[in-house]
Symmetry: C2
DNA sequence: GCTGCGATTGACTTTTACGTAAATGCCGTG
DNA sequence: CACGGCATTTACGTAAAAGTCAATCGCAGC
């Protein structure tokens, strides 16, 4: 079954980050772990947030952008106008991500090219030696 | 036909960056435009490099990572050992990019989810009002 | 009660990736 | 030729995202 709570060091190990980083994310309001005394207790939901943060980081989003994205996963607002605004912002993020996907595919294609050149070059060398 | 040379401001407009940024990339050795006197002349190849740099940036690569990637597109080295090393490093970058692609798809999926919730919520509201 | 370990807070430092300002060069036009 | 406009260099500044360090706390085991 899923764990009750995680300690800060458990999460630092799992995600290969420092305690300082997790505390920084808390200061930034990205996560709000519970406390027993002064010790942080990370719930599975906190852990999932950290996972989302790390994903965002790998994709090159800033803390502010990650904050925005995470907020989008929250309960949707009750008012129609707010909802439409949120949908618009979600669509913006998605088009941002689709741009990233194009960038990614192009970069992968160029790396494929580069590797092929290397392999060819290596084959030539193999013949001559 | 393709342009001979681009001025610095042409490129700043095309890529929506500052002259400072282009000079910074030159300081960092990412590009080496020609000179007429002290004025920089950007060749199509320089322009293509800038394009690659911007792609790397959008994907969250640091200047150093971008430098590494760009070097991989250069002429492959002549020595077999070097070639094998380069191939290994290219493969590492590709697995890096594939991780980013997974991150990207997961984030897109979660945003889809979020948008769906919004649309549903909006439909409910539409019924009740 | 002491020791050691892990956790906490707070303050200060560092790195990256530029921004900004000041002073100056170059050059085409009226 | 002087002016506007773009370009250059040098120098210093800054925001984001942590890293590092020091002092302290709480608790388990001896």
């Amino acid at each position: 079954m899923a764990r009750e709570y995680y300690t800060i060091t458990e999460l630092t190990r799992e995600f290969d980050i420092s305690t300082r980083t997790l505390r920084f994310y808390e200061d930034e309001g990205l996560i709000q772990p519970l406390r027993r005394g002064r010790t942080r207790l990370f719930r599975p939901s906190d852990r999932h947030l950290v996972k989302q943060i790390m994903r965002g980081k790998r994709l090159g989003f800033s803390i502010n952008e990650i904050r925005e994205i995470i907020k989008m996963y929250d309960e949707p607002p009750g008012e129609a106008g707010q909802l439409r605004l949120l949908i618009k912002r979600i669509e913006e993020k998605r088009s941002d991500l689709r741009q990233k996907r194009r960038d990614l595919e192009e970069t992968l294609a160029e790396l494929d090219q580069a590797e092929e050149s290397c392999v060819e070059r290596l084959a030539e060398l193999g013949v001559n030696t």
